[in-house]
């Protein structure tokens, strides 16, 4: 399974390094002088060729690299350009095409963590870029050839969420001939779309177009549908996920139930129907709606009288009715089922849910009966809904004559949710038109801030509504009050066009509420180890180029799980995610990075004393350490975080491509000049480095004195890196990783940041004892979504740096140097443990 060479072939001759500086059009060259960077790089040890490219990533740029490899007999390639999270794979391929091992490539990030975030200080940016290039060259000196690992692929996929997006993802994968598990939390697939009446801008019936797709899901030989179930555990990696699905008991046999409905006639329980936005009623044995898939009833055990084991009553009337009808489908002792499934790829389609506007007290929702939400209107206007399509006022069941729609309730509002939910303008126009058709004499007013009608045929639809006499009033209503006798509502809003405050009485007000992440999104993010953005929706790997990929390879998002989307966009994303998943599961093998850990058996203490620290630190059970034998890492199980490397007291473990020599080389290069003015930042690939990239993408400007070293995980940050940085005179050292909070860890490698924090505390205590100002060594959790936080942390640290003062830092460094050196000596050459008994 592994193709890692036992020991990388030693390179007796000096490396020949080529440095390629990308201008990225004006993106980089607009702030820094690329020519000067190349000239400076040419003076670095081992650099035999430098070049400036307009766009290194474009074909001509890549050809220049290949030609230079041949012409200058290069054996290492360094590209200074954007983030390695963007183009490292591109340039590795170029390096390989040039005839070198692809791991003889290193990248310096001078755009996302350079020109994009330092445009106000071009000189400082120039210095930082030069240092980052020097660090990449230093790492290049220590690069070793590696072969990619190949792992087998389970040719099956999991789709989580059976709304319109998940249905399409599942159908596409299944149609391609691959097995799909479709897991849905509620008793039926269909999601929100199945509850809507008509769809915009065509006004075709929602369930009429979705129903056949839902039926297809239940029929498809390649789809195994698990409803009323949730994903509770995910282990493994791309191509090889093991997933635990917990299915709640339905108490009705899916195969035996023929949905005759006799059971509901006898059930004595009446509870609000949440599938009807709680406007209608249902018994305890129920089916969400006639087109539900699977077409089977289920028992709501929280409200059922007779099945509870601790219940004094034993109703079971449904059981009798069912037997009488000849189905005998009731299972009184049904239990939770655990499914353990193996898949090669996972598609997350968990959708959104409408916001409950009760907290926006000025609109009086849940206080005034005639203030309803758009979702409630959908159920009222739907022929299959609780009123069979009659729109009535909840207070007196009468037909409304003056109807108001209020847009952006809980959207575009910093007190609740800042984002625009995207589709509310359109569904409001749709509902207004439907009402106009139903009640031609009713007056309809839409209060809005802006009407957003992007996408095909939407503006035409808006025009149609204006033409139909719907009144559009620009101005966000400030409050709704109620006439206590008539229960009519008075809406206060400024009419922006005339600039005057208005008040108007309505008998029904519909709130277009925000789309918010589905309940359980956070929990699922934890289970999958993928980040959510500031809005709480899942965060894609790249906002432009990887819109349906998670940062974790093999996991994909589609539909509103990633952000609110209308039906066509959700369907398109479902198909997009399925094609991304098929890209993996159609292969027999999948390449994964060989950045795994490896134990040097000659140095491992376990051969002499009982150690096994690495075994305990590994979150994946990839390491074994049998008594008397050296520890051993199984490469296919190793995820490459490097926590064991940093924790090994004997320095016996190496992480390929992130070796101690490589990282130390980077640190030394970064701190070559004026180290006391600099912040040495260690950033984990998945969160902090991505967060720092995001700061650049978002153009947050922050001080240029930070110098970044990328590692895969904060678990890799060894004590010697910190001590070496201070020994070299660093002004400050920052350890930054994925968020670790009381509610859990966002670490991409489960617990790397837990060990990073423990290590940080140990090192901080040691440094404090030595007499280093506490502000000079810092730990910060910065997620991939927190570009602003990254900029803030660096700005704050720089302020502290100035506060402490250059001279004080130099003096402090001089004072602690002997102690640092003593400790470093011990860390780098740990004493051999004494064997307990002589052998």
């Amino acid at each position: 399974m592994t193709q890692i060479p036992e020991t990388p072939p030693s390179k007796p001759r000096k490396p020949r390094i080529g440095v390629f500086v990308c201008e990225c059009g004006r993106n980089i060259a607009g702030v820094v002088n690329c020519q000067a960077l190349a000239e400076r790089a040419s003076k670095l040890d081992g650099v035999v060729c430098t070049m400036v490219n307009k766009f290194t990533c474009a074909d001509p740029g890549q050809e220049e690299i290949k030609a230079a490899i041949e012409e200058h007999k290069l054996d290492r390639v360094v590209v200074a350009a954007c983030t390695p999270r963007m183009h490292e794979p591109t340039f590795r391929r170029t390096t390989q095409d040039g005839g070198l091992n692809q791991f003889f490539f290193e990248m310096a990030n001078i755009r996302d963590q350079g020109s994009w975030c330092h445009s106000s200080d071009p000189e400082g940016c120039q210095e930082r870029a030069a240092d980052q290039i020097a660090a990449a060259v230093a790492k290049a000196h220590h690069l070793a050839p590696l072969e990619v690992l190949k792992v087998g692929v389970t040719p099956k996929a999991l789709v989580i969420g059976g709304g319109v997006s998940g249905i399409h993802a599942a159908l596409d994968i299944a149609d391609a001939g691959f097995k799909v598990y479709l897991v849905e939390r509620s008793p039926t697939v269909g999601g929100i779309m199945a509850l809507l009446d008509k769809t915009f801008p065509t006004l075709d019936c929602s369930i009429c177009i979705l129903g056949p797709k839902m039926a297809e899901v239940s029929r498809h030989p390649n789809i195994e549908l698990i409803t009323y179930a949730e994903v509770t555990k995910v282990e493994g990696f791309v191509g090889n996920f093991t997933v635990q699905v917990t299915e709640r008991p339905r108490f009705v046999d899916l195969d035996k139930c023929n949905s005759c409905g006799e059971c509901t006639k006898v059930c004595p329980v009446v509870v609000p129907n949440n599938f009807d936005a709680n406007l209608g009623w249902r018994p305890a044995i129920w089916i969400p709606y006639p087109q539900a898939v699977p077409s089977s009833y289920l028992i709501d055990i929280d409200h059922c009288l007779g099945l509870k084991s601790n219940s004094s009553t034993s109703c079971l009337m449904c059981d009798e009715a069912c037997k009488e009808a000849g189905a005998d489908a009731i299972i009184p002792d049904d239990e939770e089922k655990i499914h353990n499934i193996e898949v090669g790829a996972i598609v997350v389609a968990t959708g959104y849910e409408p916001y409950d506007p009760t907290p926006i007290t000025e609109y009086g929702y849940s206080v005034y009966p005639n203030v309803i939400t758009a979702m409630e209107l959908e159920r009222l206007i739907n022929a299959a809904g609780p009123t069979e399509g009659k729109v009535i006022r909840p207070s007196d069941m009468q037909k409304p004559h003056h109807i108001a729609f209020i847009q952006c309730v809980g959207s575009r509002d910093e007190r609740t949710h800042i984002w625009c939910s995207g589709f509310c303008c359109m569904y409001t126009i749709k509902n207004a038109l439907l009402l106009r058709e139903k009640y031609p004499e009713a007056e309809i007013t839409i209060y809005y801030m802006d009407i957003r009608t992007t996408f095909k045929d939407y503006e035409e639809f808006y025009r149609r509504a204006r033409q139909a006499g719907i009144r559009f009033q620009q101005g966000r209503p400030a409050e709704i009050s109620e006439d206590p006798t008539t229960k009519n509502l008075i809406v206060h809003a400024e009419d922006i066009s005339t600039g005057r405050p208005t008040r108007r009485e309505f008998d029904l007000v519909v709130l277009s509420t925000a789309a918010v992440p589905s309940k359980g999104t956070q929990a699922l993010a934890r289970v999958l180890n993928v980040p959510v953005g500031p809005s709480g929706f899942f965060m894609e790997a790249h906002p432009k180029l990887k819109p349906v990929d998670a940062a974790t390879e093999g996991v994909f998002f589609c539909g509103s799980a990633q952000g609110p989307k209308d039906i066509p966009a959700s369907v398109a994303q479902g198909s997009a995610a399925s094609s991304r998943a098929l890209r993996i599961i159609t292969q027999n093998e999948w390449e994964i990075e060989p950045i795994v850990a490896e134990v040097n058996p000659d140095l491992c203490r376990n051969t002499i004393v009982k150690c096994g620290i690495c075994v305990k630190r590994c979150a994946y059970g990839a390491i074994t350490a049998d008594p008397g034998k050296a520890a051993f890492v199984t490469p296919a199980k190793c995820h490459g975080c490097g926590t064991c490397v940093a924790e090994c007291p004997a320095n016996a473990i190496t992480q390929h491509h992130f070796t101690d020599d490589q990282i130390m080389g980077q640190i030394v290069a970064l701190l070559e000049d004026n180290p006391e003015d600099k912040i040495l930042g260690m950033l984990c690939n998945w969160c902090s480095y991505a967060g720092a990239d995001l700061a650049g993408i978002s153009r947050y400007d922050y001080p240029t004195n930070v110098r970044g070293v990328r590692m895969m995980c904060s678990g890799r940050y060894s004590e010697q890196f910190v001590l070496e940085a201070f020994r070299r005179g660093a002004g400050m050292v920052l350890m930054s990783g994925c968020r670790l909070t009381e509610t859990g860890s966002d670490c991409h490698y489960i617990s790397g940041n837990v060990w990073a924090e423990k290590r940080f505390n140990r090192i901080a205590a040691r440094l404090k004892k030595m007499g280093i100002d506490e502000r000079r060594f810092r730990l910060e959790w910065v997620s991939a979504a927190e570009g602003d936080k990254w900029a803030h942390v660096i700005t704050e640290m720089t302020a502290h740096l100035k506060e402490i003062g250059r001279d004080a830092i130099i003096a402090e460094n001089e004072r602690v140097r002997p102690e640092l050196e003593k400790r470093l000596e011990r860390l780098l050459n740990p004493p051999k443990p004494k064997p307990k008994a002589k052998t």
Binding site: E362, A478, H492
Partner: protein
């Protein structure tokens, strides 16, 4: 009243918005002109005070128009607009800031100037040392004067000293006893 003048866009400038941002009301630039402030304003429902339009003019930099606008003084500083603003703009505080600028620029209402003069003279914006009040107080078993500067002429002199030191007297064009 209809204003028939065209607003000259060349005269728009960022200065007033900059000043407001510097004073801590930087969120004002995020205003989306939704009108919640105007619609929510209890003063605006009864007067010509239009919160959103004042903020708009301030953002456009129509400095003189904003500072000379008599409706600037109709806000009761109840804070409802601030509470309901979807951009969390410190509207009421910003209005107070604009009033300060207006006074500095000489746009003080004569009534306010009168009250200020009274304050300098007596230490009270609304003095309560006349016969009507002292009789009422006595009827309630209280001393005729409250334990404020009314009772302590030395404290009043201190207050006046402070007001002189901070330049308040000049600001409100107080020229001594008249």
């Amino acid at each position: 009243m209809l204003d028939r003048r065209i607003i000259d866009g060349n005269k728009f400038n960022q200065k007033l918005a900059d000043e407001m941002a510097e004073a801590g009301y930087d969120r004002i630039r995020a205003c989306i002109q939704c009108g919640t402030c105007t619609a929510t304003c209890p003063a605006g429902r009864r007067t010509a005070y239009r919160t959103r339009q004042l903020i708009r003019k301030a953002l456009l930099g129509l400095r003189e128009e904003v500072l000379s606008d008599p409706t600037l003084w109709l806000c009761t500083t109840c804070g409802t607009c601030q509470e309901r603003c979807p951009r969390k703009i410190e509207i009421t505080d910003a209005i107070t800031f604009l009033r300060n600028l207006a006074v500095e620029a000489g746009y003080m209402r004569p009534e306010h100037r009168g009250v200020s003069h009274k304050f300098i003279k007596t230490g009270h914006a609304v003095p309560i040392d006349d016969e009507k009040w002292s009789k009422l107080r006595e009827s309630l078993g209280l001393p005729p004067l409250p334990p404020t500067v009314h009772c302590y002429p030395k404290a009043l002199r201190e207050v006046q000293k402070l007001l002189k030191k901070t330049g308040f007297d000049k600001l409100v064009e107080y020229k001594g006893d008249d």
